[in-house]
Amino acid sequence: MPTLIPDHRRDLEIRRYPTYIYVVAPLVSLILQAWLPLLLKRFMYMDLPLLMTIYFALNRRSPIHGTVLGAVLGMAQDGLTQGAIGIHGIANTVVGFLAASVGIRVVVENNVIRMVMNFVLTLAASGIVAFIVRVLLGQDWHSSGLDELLRATGNALIGAVVFPLLDRTQVRE
């Protein structure tokens, strides 16, 4: 339990990053999300913009920050599709808010917790997208449970690699 609940000042502090990281990291995630399918074909089991939303929301521990970042990144994702803008925007907004709210209560430097968070929040995002498409838009939505599990697993594994790299860019006071 001590590893789950933050009880030190260091665990409770808000992590800060250089300004360019807030721009470069999401932009790179968007570009890779659009370009990697050319290489990985149908094995594109990842959602990098969502991963960035979760990371910054967890570490900034600010629901407002997570909400805004999720909305911007999600709408940018939607901008690359031919569909309505707002589908991924709403999903990432909710996920950003949830991640930041949870980040206040748990230790976010634990890699296992991060993987679990990535897994669960990716599934939550998929559920929200499915809800928007089917219920709000009234369109068909097809996705197998296995695909969603693989995508959540992929995000969890990639997060385990990428999050420590992003940690290195933190501003240490």
């Binding site: 659009a34 050319l38 909400t67 690359l80 599709t81 909710v94 838009l137």
Partner: protein, 427 residues
């Protein structure tokens, strides 16, 4: 009041963000009645306008994608051409052997190919159309599973416009949707919002091709028809003003009954073009016929030499095809359940042709003894002993009142050309 906003600041921001986006969704996705009936959720005409957010996102992402794509090709070329030379010697020997073998095969095939080309050119030249195309490279995707889009490295600067057809040598790929200065979106044929007019090559059934939820192209709104079989070729119909007529789309993979409308079926199509592994595509920039000078000269020459023969052969083929189709569609004029006529074996042991039908006399208005069926109306004669056809006898009516005690004299007439089995009499 300040304490309220301060206390619930996070939640208010969340709700505001969600509310704005939901309103945005509602504005973008308005469903008129026609769209509801056709199942289209976004009736906006392709290329009618680009949202600012989309323009920003594409402007941010595609230049970097183009750079990465170019750099990747450069690094790949550097590795392949200069660094990875371990098996080059063996490959060189293998290739030399292959070349020797291919030269021999080439000499044999050349004559056949030339002959085939000439014949093929004569028949197909009149039907062939050449379109102006522009080659483009695929530099990115939408990055979303629910949106089957590609990004090309050409845009309005290269003359691309919305609704241009995108094809490969194997078949059609999709159509240009939104066009930006240096890039363009291609909506693949397996996307749910796509649409193309197609025709099944054998059964000539027309339909609309669009993607299903699983990302497979399918022909929809077709009445159940048992003639549609897997493997049938699917071609573009040409009526959508986007794809030229006759381009290969794919082959029928399977036929599924429409879950919502029982009388309709969905024909799942296996696309000819490899939609998942596209690197280069052709954009059809003009649907007008465009023959080169050589093609026009060849066309004129072939028409001079073989024009009448080709035209006659084409007319004959068209006539036979039309007759075959009519035969398949119209009910038969003969009774299919009628028994087959018995085969008659002749004296030489060979089957003989069926005898001509015996003409039946018309009913007589005032019957007398000469009428058919009247007693003593005919004079019988024994058949020939040698089996030859007996000569039919014709009775000559008397001019005077006939004597019933005496049979009228029978006069043989000239034998009619008929089958040997015929033993009846002509009266």
């Amino acid at each position: 009041m300040e304490s309220f906003f301060g206390r619930y600041r996070n939640l208010i921001v969340l709700l505001a963000a969600l509310l704005l986006q939901v309103i945005g969704l509602a504005v973008q996705v308005r469903k008129p009645a026609s769209a509801v009936t056709t199942g289209l959720a976004n009736p906006r005409r392709d290329g009618a306008g680009v949202l600012l957010i989309r323009l920003w996102a594409v402007s941010l992402v595609t230049p970097v994608e183009r750079t990465i794509h170019g750099a990747g090709q450069g690094v790949g070329g550097l590795w392949t051409n200069y660094l990875d030379l371990r098996r080059t010697q063996q490959q060189n020997k293998d290739l030399q052997a292959t070349i020797d073998r291919l030269r021999l095969e080439q000499a044999e095939l050349r004559e056949d190919a030339l002959q085939g080309q000439r014949l093929q050119a004569l028949v197909k030249f009149q039907e062939s159309y050449a379109y102006q195309t522009l080659a483009a490279q695929v530099i990115g995707t939408s990055g979303s599973r629910s949106s089957r889009l590609l990004y090309l490295d050409k845009g309005t600067d290269s003359g691309l416009k919305p609704d241009m057809a995108v094809i490969t040598g194997d078949g059609i790929v999709g159509k240009v949707r939104d066009v930006f200065p240096h890039t363009a979106q291609v909506l693949l044929i397996n996307d749910q919002t796509s649409g193309a007019g197609v025709v099944l090559a054998t059964t000539r059934i027309r339909g609309i091709l669009r993607g299903n939820v699983a990302g497979q192209p399918q022909v929809v709104n077709i009445l159940a028809d048992s003639r549609i079989k897997p493997g049938e070729l699917v071609l573009t119909a040409g009526g959508d003003q986007i794809f030229p007529r006759g381009l290969p789309v794919g082959v029928v993979d399977k036929v599924e009954r429409d879950a919502e409308r029982g009388a309709f079926i969905n024909v799942i199509v296996k696309p000819s073009a490899q939609l998942d592994t596209l690197d280069e595509v052709l954009v059809v920039t003009s649907l007008e016929e465009h023959l080169s000078k050589e093609q026009e000269a060849d066309l004129a020459k072939s028409e001079d030499l073989k024009g009448p023969e080709v035209a006659a052969a084409a007319a004959e083929a068209a006539r036979k095809k039309a007759a075959l189709e009519m035969e398949q569609r119209l009910p038969g004029l003969t009774d299919p359940n009628a028994p087959a006529p018995a085969t008659v074996i002749g004296p030489d042991g060979k089957p003989m042709p069926a005898p001509a039908p015996i003409p039946k006399p018309l009913p007589v208005a005032h019957p007398d003894r000469f009428s058919p069926g009247a007693a003593g109306g005919t004079v019988g004669s024994a058949p020939a002993a040698d089996g030859a056809a007996p000569a039919p006898e014709v009775e000559e009516p008397k001019a005077t009142k006939p004597d019933t005690s005496k049979k009228p004299a029978a006069k043989p007439s000239k034998p009619a050309p008929q089958s040997p089995q015929f033993s009846g009499r002509v009266q």
